[in-house]
Amino acid sequence: MLSRVADSLYWMSRYFERAAHCARVLQATHNLMLDPAKITADERWLRALAFIGFPRIHEELDPEMAIIRLAMDPANRSSIVACITGARDNASQVREEISSEMWEHLNRLYHDVTQPVWKLPEGEDAASFRSSDEAEAMRRAGEVREGTYKFHGITDLTMNHDEGWHFIQLGKATEHACSVSILLDAYFSTKKPATDLDWLCLLTSCGAFEAFCRAYTADLKPANIAELLLLHPEFPFSVRNSADQMYAASRALTANFSAPGTHTIERVMGRLRSSVSFVEVEEVTGGDPHQYLNDIIEQCTKLHAAVNDIYIEYPIEAVFEI
């Protein structure tokens, strides 16, 4: 497989996962915002915006504007629209590698959530944002959330589980582990005590509410929430499961394509997996959650860099021993 192709598959998958996560966060936060609460609306939206890496803004934030920023603003590189566009751009460069069913599904989803193009209203125009727009933004978010689940189903069923597929799995799992860690950090490192509604919002943002109730009943203990999202072996969206998927994918690559430097991948993976497999949740919540979560993100970044150096952007000189 061409290095460029592997890179595009990986990024297609990462962007897709980011879009899905952003859609879940938007839907959950939006739902939360409809109820009155003690902490200000700004606080909650900013938390959501901070998660997607939006620079902190001090001016007052309209909920409507926040919705557009999260969902529809192409200038915000983490918005749903930007991510879906990024996924499609990458897919379009490797159309011969993915199955036609995958491409068609992605293409249809892209047109569905980007047309008509949304312009960010400015100044007085902001008032022109109507309730039908709000409903439409939420509809699009829902399409993306569902569309990504379908995409992974189609991918698993129509594509050979070869190296290309492993790059897709690697992208998905890496992105997921990072996003969940960043979001958890926003909740666990905040000074203000979060209310039950906020915890509920966190769980829904991770598609985890029903899974939580099954595992722990509806008693929203922060430690249980952290355990489910980080360490739970059976919850499919837990960071632990993402780490296992990253391990399986990178293992498939290093086993089949030996290259100098693969030991870096093994070392990083070992460290990441042990930090989510051999730890008690009290060590996380009782210690320094911020540092713990940051370490996970750092290991993900290291894995990304190692894969890139070994398989994608390796120096030609080394191959020819010039």
Binding site: L2, S3, V5, E96, N107, E163, F257, I316, V319, F320
Partner: protein, 489 residues
Amino acid sequence: MATPAEPVPMRPSPFDGYELDVAYDEMFRSKDKPRGAYKHLYTQLLSMEPEELRRSKQQADLSFFNQGITFTVYGRKEGTERIFPHDLLPRIITSAEWKTIERGLTQRITALNLFLRDVYHERKILRDGVIPGEIIYTCKQFRRQMRGVKVPRDVYVSISGSDLIRLPNGQFVVLEDNLRVPSGVSYMLTGRKVMKQIFPMLYRKSGVQPIEHYSQVLLSTLRSLATETRSTPTVVLLSPGVYNSAYFEHAYLARQMGIELVEGRDLVVHDNIVFMRTIAGLQRVDVIYRRVDDDFLDPLAFRPDSSLGAAGLFNAYRAGNVVLSNALGTGVADDKAIYAYVPKIIKYYLGEEPILNNVETLLMTDDKERAHVLANMDKYVVKAVGESGGYGMLIGPHSSLQQQQDFRERIEADPRNYIAQPTLALSTAPCFVGDHVEPRHVDLRPYILFGEKCTIVPGGLTRVALRKGSLVVNSSQGGGSKDTWVLQN
């Protein structure tokens, strides 16, 4: 007791207002008298409600859109991606007509390959005075670098598509040959798939010859060019990348053949061997189906500012370590001035009369012919010899005085660069417009594969000038396509 029969209200026929003129009509012999091959289609259309037709059209468009079967229009910023306009109604060709086309094109491509070999080696045809040497050496597509280069199997053009038109007398003639990097074959293949979904019964009843094996034949043609005894040669498709107007086609063909789609930046040439950069390290490449023009293939041999090819590629090619298909320099044989000599070329190399004729072509380098054309600009189509895609062209009868004057000056400044042809009435075929059927001008581009043997999948791309009365069928100029059905008998 019998009651007088109620008069049944007549549904207006979708063919009301279908006007025939001097052009040959593919469907109708005369008003409301369809030709034999079109009988099934005619009955089917009469039995369909306009609403049904419209729905079918929408369904077809949506299918193209969702599959992302689009092309890029250059020179616009946003919304550059458009679906290729596709007409709902098939163009039908009888098997007898097809046999003539097939024989004619096989003859033509065989002769043109012999011609290319000769031009780049012994140049017998020039020495025998059949073609003036000057016309070859002034051709912009002539590649001096190819002189004496041994080409595998002596096949210069292995993948081509010639444009045919049908004259008012019903005869097919060749309007031009595309021997460099012709495109459109993916529209032929995907269009067929959609038509089968939309008109399954009509398709079955008609007995249409299949075209789906094109990709397999393409791959075996490419493999047959591999010179070395490497048991399974690595074949790749070289594309300029995602911003090229035909990118969809490149990706489509690569996937259908199961080969890698590479870009220049994926290739590395070392010691005259071409490699591609894979996750398992560098892998050797044996055959390149290149969809990049000659000029851009190798910055060391051709345009130094090109980043679409790979540095050193041409040397590897000359050393015989990699096969390029088509070979370089084939444009010398589809130059529109050299086109005028193709009947002579066929006679010279094969000793046969051409089965498919040329369109009468006036060379602007000939003083008499030029004077005649300059005095009658409104009657001729003037074309730049090296252009394609409908660019650089004047259609006399549809042009303004200003445009004519403009071309007159251009011809006088550079006569070698222009030819003129009489304005021809391209045949018309029924097209679905709005809620009824109207005639539109069409041509036909069959796709020819030439390796160990010559294969032309039955049919090709019928291109339609969608604007009423227009004679320009190029996709970049408002043209569309139609599925082409060649019947079994």
